[in-house]
Symmetry: C2
Subunit: 310 residues, 2 copies
């Protein structure tokens, strides 16, 4: 079946955000959930008009929540990043997947005496510590090497009860073996993925392998599937709902990725708004191979402000 | 459905190798294909009676072929290993997955002017060179690090036309990004996996993440599936058949792994013999979750010699 762009747009149930839709959203939604990279900023640069749009939403009494799959930073580190970009956001408003991993262990009563092995970066270790858990691995094990020699036994801590895997620019064979041994040999050891994003904008100019790369590596060696705590899994949403006591139908998820942000919002029954200021283009949205359709789409977050008018 | 061991053995169509079967095999088979680790040796130690068994088979005029998924060595390096263990095997009799990767490129007329990026070890680079191809990466890139800084562009060679991924104890983020960029951005770039073994005996005392770990990582970041050239894919078998002009029904595959060796033999229509001198135990073979059944099973290769008698 060959369709031209106009036909594909008619097939798609998403609507280009209109002034009417923007007013409707503002009237029907109590909380706006934002992805960060590609919506709020690109790399270390704020996207045009974001600050004014957030101010307007706050002035209307809307709850703002920032939900990111990036696990390399903690909530505290994210609050600092917002501050450095001139936006005042409190730690309580930030839900990064490093925090999600720690909260997953907490709500599942992970025993304090057990340890958590981390294939990932500083953010995960900091969130684990803040939640009262003992983390091992992380950046420190990035310097370690292995000895593939006869009679050499690679020892691992038998009290590790969970392996958390996120984006790790210091990934190596030592960590892969450590995590694999814990999951294969420690009875009941959990395998938690912060997220499974294939790639992400680790630098402004390029995409790089994301947590999905490291998570897949451990799936490959253990032949096990992880519990995912970041988007699009429902764990974070359930946690958010419990914390803020807002019904999902009164929330709008704003994001630049179909398979994480928009799917996350749709899975939970939120309204969804796709912005083209990140990794997704209009042609990807309307491509016949795409089955994830947001309620609305627009170029960038601040379009809401313009559409509402003075 | 609960079955005891005896019942499960009756359900299984595999037979414990008998004297009659051994004689039958010797009469009906022209070529014996052997996996190496777990059949011929364990780590750097020859398994009991292997040397005498191979001598007997050669004396009966049988063709011997050694087929291993290990890609870290080249054929030349394997011939040296056999020699160091006191067994005379020629390079022509060895089919390792590093060689398979180079042959795959050759039979598919991979252009000589294009380059091959290697996530893997020395064996792959050596086989590529012997086949007349230009390899990049490998152990050398194990020392490289990345710069995740604004305005920093990670450059990759646009003339890379294939990425070969095998077991790599020097895996790092640099190589993951390099391979990912080639597959995502170089038009038509091939993604070749030497094999997908989850783990392997990198040391005598322990299993370690195998090529399946590194291959999965690249699947995770590229969202692409590789072409597998090692066991259990049929590429090596087609190649072997063409080279030796022996029908598969006249071959017997001997191995210690169900999902690679035995499946490889069965896929091609060879006779299959599972030995318990490697990673598979009798209980795994007879476990209800196992669906891969060899024609015969026995403890170790030299049982053939004993069963045939003096």
């Amino acid at each position: 079946m060959n369709m031209n762009v106009a036909e594909r747009q008619r097939e798609c149930h998403s609507q280009l955000l209109s002034s009417h839709d923007a007013r409707d959203l503002l009237n029907s939604v109590d909380a706006f959930l934002f992805d960060c990279d590609g919506v709020i900023w690109k790399g270390d640069t704020l996207i045009d008009g974001v600050s004014q749009t957030l101010d307007m939403l706050r002035s209307k009494g809307k709850k703002l929540v920032f939900v990111t799959n990036n696990s390399t930073k903690s909530r505290r580190q994210y609050a600092k990043k917002f501050q450095s970009l001139g936006i005042s956001v409190s730690e309580d408003e930030i839900f990064c997947s490093s925090f999600a991993a720690a909260m997953f262990l907490k709500v599942n009563n992970f025993p304090r005496e057990k340890k958590v092995y981390v294939i990932g970066e500083e953010g995960i270790l900091e969130e684990l510590q803040l939640a009262g858990f003992t983390g091992l691995g992380g950046p420190e094990d990035g310097k370690k090497t292995v000895q593939l020699k006869p009679n050499c036994l690679f020892e691992h801590d038998k009290t590790v009860g969970a392996v958390v895997v996120g984006l790790d620019q210091y990934i190596n064979y030592y960590k892969l073996q450590y995590g694999t041994l814990c999951i294969r040999e420690n009875p009941g050891c959990l395998f938690i993925a912060t997220n499974q994003d294939a790639v992400g904008h680790m630098t402004d100019l390029q995409e790089w392998p994301g947590a999905g790369c490291m998570v897949a590596a451990i799936c490959g060696s253990t032949q096990k599937e992880p519990t995912v705590v970041g988007k699009p899994s429902t764990f974070l949403m359930d946690f958010l709902q419990q914390k803020f006591q807002i019904s999902c139908s009164k929330m709008c998820m704003v994001g630049d990725r179909l398979d994480t942000d928009i799917l996350f919002g749709k899975n939970a029954g939120c309204k969804t708004l796709l912005v083209f200021s990140g990794v997704t283009s209009q042609s990807t949205l309307h491509d016949p191979s795409n089955s994830i359709e947001p309620d609305y789409y627009t170029n960038k977050l601040s379009d809401i402000l313009e559409l509402l008018g003075p």
